[in-house]
């Protein structure tokens, strides 16, 4: 094997950047499922009434940038630590100094009840959840989304069937996707069955 007598000199990997696919997987599998808890956390501690969506995006951005060098061992504490920093920075930036200071932010307990990275529980309620989310879309919007996602029709076909312009269908689908995603990730599932 060592034909030239040298020690094994495999050059150390110099890839400072994470593989994009790893980041993508990590973000969708580990970060996004935390969104409902994250939103709740942000709402609870949002002293200066920043827009929650804006705070959430800021958390995602920092998490993403920080994970580029190395994925965290444990995503949940990592994301919530970033969330806390985002909140603190906002308070500083807006020069809002709460009278009681920030001790509660430090004392926040992050419940670690989420399944581990390689596990996912598909409860029977997942389907009901999807249906309910769909159900809460505006009627025309829902109709278009169902034709696209379930029947897999093109926008043109949907436009014909709904007697709408393609541009209107496009708007329905774009709104539908944005609202659906906000419900699926941003809201807590029902705590009914397990």
């Amino acid at each position: 094997m060592s034909e030239n007598g040298r020690e094994h000199t495999h050059p150390p990997k110099v890839s400072a950047e994470m593989d994009m696919r790893d980041l993508h997987l990590w973000f969708t599998r580990e970060v996004l499922p935390l969104e409902a808890d994250l939103v709740q956390f942000l709402q609870h501690h949002n002293r200066n009434r920043s827009d929650i969506g804006d705070l959430r995006q800021e958390v995602y951005l920092r998490a993403y940038e920080s994970a580029q060098t190395k994925l965290p061992q444990s995503t949940r504490p990592f994301v919530f630590a970033i969330a806390r920093n985002v909140l603190v920075d906002r308070l500083r930036r807006d020069r809002i100094i709460p009278i009681e200071g920030m001790p509660d932010l430090d004392a926040i307990e992050i419940p670690d009840d989420a399944p581990g990275p390689d596990r996912s529980v598909i409860a029977r309620s997942e389907f009901r959840r999807l249906y309910e989310a769909l159900d809460r879309l505006p009627p025309r919007c829902r109709e278009a989304v169902v034709m696209r996602r379930v029947d897999q029709l093109s926008r043109r076909e949907i436009a014909t069937r709904m007697s709408l312009s393609e541009a209107t269908v496009k708007t329905h689908l774009n709104d539908g996707l944005r609202l659906l995603v906000a419900m699926l990730y941003g809201e807590k599932p029902d705590r009914g069955e397990s």
Binding site: H24, F27, T28, L32, D51, G53, D54, R56, Q57, Y60, L61, Y64, E65, D118, R119, S120, V121, I122, A123, R124, E126, F127, R128, L130, Y131, L134, V145, V146, R149, V150, D151, Q152, L153, S154, R155, K170, L173, N174, D175, L177, R178, L180, V181, A182, L184, Y185, E193, S194
Partner: protein, 325 residues
């Protein structure tokens, strides 16, 4: 026409990014996006990329809906013409068409099942006419109907390893209690006992569903390395469990492989294969963990390990081996 537009509340900056991401995702999904412009948009800010990933993941998730659509939505011949970039969506869509087609076909087919059984300690390979194989583990019964249009198997009890030859026109459907597996070209392990149904995927993919409850049935597409455990109330899926799977399939080569399992679990495994039953006296002993491998009939070797290595007390009496502290 434009009145409804005026009614819309203004979007926050974050919602605007989400709206852009949704629009890009939909355009690309519809094959009408300009790649250079999309790249330019992505390059503006990582926020855009993350919002895009989020839309994509949400759409993927909603793909489960496609897999349980009611039959009257089914429009064969019109499916899958779209350039989905989403494998999940594609699999779910194909599975939906396949699964529903079959469910309908069952009702009209004759009930020509052949039963294959193994006794305790048995091991047998059943070759089907289509080239598929079913390898039965100990104390197992399967019923097979692979004639005509159907390829349908019922795992009545026990455990079997399936090597399925994929046939788009004759899907391979396996029922185990309340769970139904629809093969998408695959090798998998299926085990059924009183409490649960367990599926482990070695190759390919299968769709897991509950028959008869189209609208509310749970569903998952299992890929190689996935293990799903379904009980009456839920399905737990573990991804990337290749190592555990290899251990679980040890019986195919006549071995029981224990990787950090409790004595109680090991004992109940041995009891599946042997007439002589192991009884663990108390929970304290039963919860001790160990790792080792034995022949499936190596109950004596196991007893020696319990005695010598773990220092436990062994007592034999009429067909039972009692292990205690």
């Amino acid at each position: 026409m434009s009145s409804s537009e005026d009614m819309k509340p203004a979007l926050t900056p974050a919602e605007q990014i989400d709206a852009q991401a949704a629009a890009w995702f939909n355009d690309r999904n519809d094959g009408t996006a300009d790649q250079a412009q999309f790249d330019a948009w992505l390059a503006q800010s990582p926020n855009n990329l993350l919002a895009y990933w989020r839309m994509e993941a949400g759409w993927d998730r909603a793909g489960l809906l496609a897999a349980v659509r009611p039959p009257n939505h089914n429009r064969p011949g019109e499916r899958d013409r779209r350039p989905w970039g989403l494998w999940l969506g594609r699999i779910a869509a194909i599975a939906a068409v396949v699964g529903i087609g079959i469910a309908a076909a069952y009702e009209f087919s004759g009930d020509k099942f052949t039963t294959y059984t193994t006794t305790i300690g048995g091991h047998r390979v059943v070759m089907l006419a289509d080239g598929s194989q079913i390898e039965l583990n100990t104390d197992t019964t399967v019923r097979v109907n692979a004639t005509g249009k159907n390829r349908r198997v019922e795992l009545v009890r026990g455990e079997a390893y399936f090597s399925v030859r994929h046939d788009e026109h004759r899907p391979f459907v396996v029922d185990a209690g309340d769970q139904r597996l629809v093969d998408l070209g695959t090798k998998f392990l299926l085990r059924r006992d009183a409490k649960e149904v367990r599926v482990g995927l070695f190759e390919g993919s299968v769709r897991l569903e509950t028959p008869g409850l189209l609208a509310s049935s749970p569903l998952a597409v299992l890929m190689a390395g996935d293990v799903a455990v379904a009980t009456s109330s839920r399905i737990l899926i573990t991804r990337g469990a290749k190592r555990e799977l290899d251990a679980e399939a040890g019986w195919r080569t006549g071995r029981l492989i224990f990787d950090h399992v409790t004595l109680a679990e090991a004992a109940s495994e041995f009891n599946r294969y042997n007439g002589v039953k192991l009884v663990i006296a108390d929970a304290g002993v039963g919860s001790r963990k160990f790792s080792s491998a034995f022949p499936t009939n190596g109950i004596e070797a196991f007893v020696r390990v319990a005695q010598k290595s773990l220092g436990l007390h062994v007592e034999r009496r009429n067909g039972e081996i009692l292990i205690s502290n």
